[in-house]
């Protein structure tokens, strides 16, 4: 199901689509900030937001809204947007509908870094740094293994990514069995968790996501040209190899930043671009920004469900909701 054949929607429809999804995201943010384990009436939410913005001292529920919920929601927005954009870009650059942001081993590398610190009993603040290092290291290894002279053939990249991912996952599991009393903590990382995302953590993730996702949005037009085929793209003056490397690099930085603090949230990067494509068309200039909006809304809502139900982890919710929904959508569109 290459996306090349799908027609681009009329240009005039784009602002409407953006507005629609932005509204959905806004709704998700309002719900995510207002609801939770502790009930905070809407009025108090507004008061808390005002107090925080005007620099007044926070007390009682203000702390929950301003210091716990809001940063958690913003983290959800960043991570969801990042996974959505990266998924769309990866599916485009590999011209493979099953590509997702974890394709090149980012997730396994991040998990290995986190597991090493957790099982080794290292200090908790070291976990994100180790995860980031592992994630980026895994991508570098994949790139090095897939390189063919100066070329980066997509098939080799995918194969190398799957291989690197498997090897790193095996290493994580071996480590985990050495320290099984910490299994729950490692499991929390591999199932994605937005808990304890404060403003500091948001600030740490922002540069990676901003830089990576921002670069991908700028590359959208080139990605569109690539959908016409490598040869055509070349003849139109697109430096295909460099574009591929740029997209992979940008997406990897954004995804590595996303997994560093919150772990591996499954299915968002695969699912969201497909939903956008089926609903709004396949052009990357539409696909990438809309995937960012939908990904953000999805993760915020999934986290809200996770922390108010016994499902307890955002990655469990995204997978439980995403899988069946994806299949339903697929069947519906085929008919």
């Amino acid at each position: 199901m290459s996306s090349a054949a799908a027609p681009r929607p009329p240009r005039s429809a784009l602002p409407l689509q953006v507005a629609g999804l932005a509204l959905l995201l806004l709704l998700a943010v309002v719900l995510g900030t207002g609801l939770g384990r502790v009930m905070v009436p809407p009025g108090e939410v507004l008061v808390a937001l005002w107090r925080g913005l005007s620099g007044q001292e926070l007390a009682g529920n203000d702390v929950i809204v301003w210091q716990i919920r809001l940063p958690r929601v913003v983290m959800g927005v960043l991570v969801g947007a990042s996974l959505g954009v990266c998924g769309g870009a990866f599916q485009g650059v590999f011209r493979n509908p099953l590509a997702d942001p974890y394709l090149l081993g980012v997730a396994s590398g991040g998990a290995l870094g986190a597991t090493a610190v957790i099982v080794g009993g290292g200090p908790r603040p070291l976990i994100p740094a180790a995860a980031l290092l592992g994630a980026l290291g895994a991508v570098m290894a994949t790139l090095a293994l897939a390189r063919e002279g100066r070329r980066l053939p997509p098939t080799r990249l995918v194969l190398a990514g799957v291989m690197v991912g498997s090897v790193l996952s095996a290493l994580s599991t071996a480590l985990l069995l050495r320290g099984e009393d910490r299994a729950r903590e490692v499991l929390a990382y591999t199932l994605g968790d937005l808990g304890f995302s404060g403003w500091r953590e948001v600030g740490a993730v922002l540069p990676y996501v901003g830089l990576g996702a921002g670069a991908l949005l700028l590359l959208a037009r080139a990605l569109d040209t690539l959908q016409l085929g490598e040869l055509t793209a070349r003849s139109l003056g697109v430096p295909v190899e460099r574009l591929r490397l740029l997209v992979i690099g940008a997406a990897s930085v954004a995804t590595a930043g996303a997994v560093a603090y919150v772990g591996i949230i499954g299915f968002v990067g695969l699912l969201v671009p497909h939903v956008v494509r089926l609903a709004f068309g396949a052009g990357h200039r539409t696909l990438l920004p809309l995937s960012a909006l939908l990904g953000a809304a999805l993760v915020v809502l999934a986290d809200l469900l996770a922390r108010t139900t016994p499902l307890s982890q955002v990655g469990i919710v995204t997978t439980l909701l995403g899988g069946p929904f994806f299949l339903w959508l697929l069947r519906r569109t085929r008919d």
């Binding site: 007390a59 919920r69 808990g195």
Partner: protein, 290 residues
Amino acid sequence: MNRALTLTAVLCAALSAAASATTYPLTFTDDLGRKVTLKAEPKRIVSMLPSTSETLCALAACDRLVGVDDYSDYPAYVTKLPKMGGLYNPNVEAIVARKPDLVLVSKYGKLAEPLTQAGITVIAVNPETYDEVFSKTLLLGKIVNREAQAKALVTSMKREIAKVEILTKTAVNKPTAYYEIDPTPYSIGPNSFMGTLLTKAGARNIIPATMGDFPKVDPEFIVKQNPQLILGVDAGTAGARPGWNTITALKTGKVMTVPKELNTMLGRPGPRLPQALRGLAKLVHPELFK
């Protein structure tokens, strides 16, 4: 006179031992819900749970252990025994090679099936609630023909626990407490055996029973409950968490990690329960133990 007394005492002891001696074959239902029959008194035992290893030793059956899991480390005697792996990576071959006539396993591992197929008697014993610590001690006593010792052990454990409880009952202020067992964060409900100990140590658990025995907790719930005491996290880590610097426990410096040895004891539903309770009570109410 003296001799007569001694003789009477010896006779009584012998009689009571005989009265409580286990008769084999012994059949009962284990924690996996299986009917298990012990044909004879077990002499070569492998224990795959640290708490079970401790209980057997407390029942003076330490010398029957021929292998233990990787985490069994108390009393010192068991550290010299061959290691048979952990819960998720048990070494079945090593266990079989030790030719045990009984293997005590956790109901959470997958050991029961392969060992049973190898013709070895397997019993799953998992004390999980406070009361089960005692009932399983008595059961283990019956299994290894040490019923009298098991009864004596349970009595002395309950006596030691009562001593601590008498102290903590006199405490004027019972702080509201949050106990973190891992930083994701997971805590303990009041009905878990650790939760029971926390209450007996003179604290009021902020986790309601409705949340379960070992619930994953939403951090905003902890901030809302505003506990006066936080156990299981160091002050630096807790203070760095969003919003936590507003919690009373942090403002008054009542945030502490649980020392490693005490933490191990608290996690083991076995004979060191009274010691664990005393250690916990000292953390909650240092003023009572001066």
